[in-house]
Amino acid sequence: MAERMPRASSPPPVVVRGGTVIDQRGRRRADVVLDGGLVTSVAERAEAPSRALVLDAGGCLVAPGLVDLHVHLRQPGREESETVETGARGAALGGFTAVVAMPNTEPPLDSAETVRTVLEIGRTVTCEVAVAGAITVGRRGERLSPMAELARLGVQLFTDDGTGVQSAGVMRRALQYATGLDVTLAQHCEDLSLSAEGAMHEGSWSSRLGVAGQPAAAEEAMVARDLVLAKDTGARIHFLHLSTAGAVDLVRRAKSEGLAVTAEAAPYHFTLTDGAVSGYDPVFRVNPPLRTLTDVEAVKHALGDGTIDAIATDHAPHAPEAKDLPFDQSPPGMLGLETALALALGELDLPPEQVFALMSWRPARIARLDAAHGGGQGGPLVPGAAANLCVVDPELPWQVDDRPPASRSRNTPYGGRRLTGRVRHTVYDGEPVVVDAEAQR
């Protein structure tokens, strides 16, 4: 677990009262008492210690904090869009107590210096900030980044996200090198020779709208290639934001063969289709692009049957001026942190236990932020566990834009939507960072 800045004074104990605890061990009615950064008691009726802050959790689910494997915090370089601090605030509002920051910053997170900077800022904010390092220098897909040096700083995931590593030779070398470091490579699967200048999914909508398309084959070709390379090298590989039925099938088959592969899906890939682009609103431009209903159904199915291990937001803020450009000139990406849990609870037809598995303990394990790797994320809520909690009212309806997001950007594709399930409180390292859906700092 990341070391935190020493506190001037330790926060008061917290009692989360009246909720239903839900974790890997199942579901039970219990109050949770937190003190000194740890869970001290989980009991049907807990006594509140003196000077304890009591958080009402009536009607709520009390789960380990959520873990997001995929966020773009834009720092350094694009602070007008987001910072580590504003991103972490959005994460807390979304119930996340840990995020993995992608390395496509400016400069990219391909050196000890930049990684250290982000980690240091991350120690002062409202959730744990882990860093994914770049696989290659400058994310150019040519020379390997100093992966061992970054791994010594605690980097567990490496990716050139934003683009995939195009050269099979470079990717094979990176996978081989990774096996010696016991780290995981995460791939943005897109063969650029197939997706070229595409700005949306290639299909009936792109044809009609006259927008160059990214075929499903661009994603699937790289998934297939990397599965071959993972088998060949024995390295662990994680597939970022899988979006096509074909890609999901490839991963399902590889898992049945026992390959060490994991995968994530983004909420926009199980809630929106390429038809959303019909008005050319750049807020619907994202990469991988919104796909067809068939793909949406395949992603949902894969989240249900375990083919996809985690829901990751791919939170990608862009300043308003960037989204006032023509569709094909605007940068891809959508906000995701504050809407992910409600979408997962509301749109997947999965029991809450499974939703929290997808959003808390499974991603915690993939990012190695779990107790087994010395971290405090995603574990069962028992005395001695780290005090990271997400308290959500699963029945509470809310309007996405009833207030501005914590992000410096506004590019949510869910504007005007009514969602059900609102994060009520978030506790990170014993500190209530969100209380009654309000960020505390």
Binding site: S204, G210, G279, Y280, P326, F327, D328
Partner: protein, 328 residues
């Protein structure tokens, strides 16, 4: 009949009745064009701006001529010298132009969908799509329909001739906004559209497109076609890499002198321009009497006058309906 739409962004905005209305009104304005002094006061006091973010000579001149013949004031936005180059956003440009008191914006852009976005941003202006990326170019399709109707002698309300009319659209459909508009327009009028192109120059999906057939052999199509509509190979949009060579394209899909002999009597040839002679059409074929390329250009002005009239001139507030010129 449905009222004419507020903006003309896509041929899908118009049904058959509205297309017929455009063609009828175009007849009146074509008559104006034949007068010694081809000018009417229909849009006096109105201001039309051409916002061309992509280079074009013929379409801009056609729209500006149309607006001027209707006595509108015409403002021209030239992207080469504009604030866009100084980093101003598209939206700011549009809002600035509208704040000058513009009634209509004629928008061309290399990116698909820009006119749709502009139409959302404007407060009171009407927006006409003058070609957006590979999406739509509705006035081109309308002037093609007008030209075909004129050539086939359909008469004033002569849309009956379009029923079962066999139209072959030949060439780079994938990148063509003209084709996307033509297909919708011809199909709405009852014509049977066949696309003729190498597979790499077809859109990735034709799901839901009102075409009756796709052919890869121009020789098989020409003897049956009533209208042959050629498209330019858009090398600048990437057609180059989708073909082994222009020479190979011409040998399979160019309208050569040999091919032209296969046309049935009365069949007509259209091309939206600019022509790339020797690639999609042989020079001598472009000069044949059944080639309507010059008529298309001439009709373009009348059809664009009709579109501006239908979008602006009937505005109740201005009460200009009585000023529709009578047919001579």
């Amino acid at each position: 009949m449905r009222p004419f739409p507020v903006h003309l962004l896509s041929m899908e905005d118009l049904d058959a009745g509205q297309i017929a209305e455009v063609l009828r009104v175009s007849d009146s304005f074509a008559e104006v064009g034949r007068r010694a002094s081809p000018k009417v006061p229909t849009l006096r006091g109105r201001t039309v701006a051409t916002l061309f973010f992509e280079d074009s000579t013929r379409t801009r001149m056609s729209f500006e001529t149309a607006a001027k013949r209707m006595s509108a004031d015409v403002l021209s936005f030239a992207h080469g010298s504009s604030s866009i180059k100084k980093g101003e956003s598209l939206r700011d440009t549009v809002e600035t132009v509208e704040a000058m008191g513009i009634d209509a914006m004629i928008v061309r852009h290399a990116s698909s969908g820009v006119p749709d976005r502009v139409a959302r941003w404007v407060d009171h202006s009407v927006v006409v799509n003058a070609g957006d990326g590979a999406h739509q170019h509705p006035t081109q399709a309308l002037l093609d329909c007008y030209t075909v109707r004129e050539a086939l002698g359909g008469g004033e309300d002569g849309l009956a001739r379009f029923g079962g009319l066999r139209v072959a659209i030949v060439g780079d459909v994938r990148h063509s906004r003209v084709a996307r508009s033509q297909i919708v327009a011809y199909a709405a009028l009852g014509a049977e559209v066949t696309l003729v192109a190498p597979a790499t120059l077809l859109p990735p999906s034709l799901e839901g497109w009102p075409v009756v057939a796709v052919e890869h052999d121009i020789d098989a199509v020409l003897p049956k076609a009533d209208v042959v509509s050629l498209l330019r190979v858009q090398a600048e949009r990437g057609s180059g890499v989708l073909l082994p060579s222009l020479r190979e394209y011409t040998s399979g899909y160019g309208l050569t002198a040999r091919c032209a002999t296969m046309l049935q009597p009365g069949a007509v040839i259209l091309h939206p321009g600019p022509l790339v002679r020797g690639v999609e059409i042989a020079s001598e074929v472009a000069e044949l009497p059944q080639s309507l390329i010059t008529d298309q250009v001439a009709n373009g002005v009348a059809v664009r006058m009709a579109v501006l009239f239908l979008l602006l001139g009937r505005d109740a507030h201005h009460g200009r309906l009585e000023e529709v010129p009578d047919r001579g």
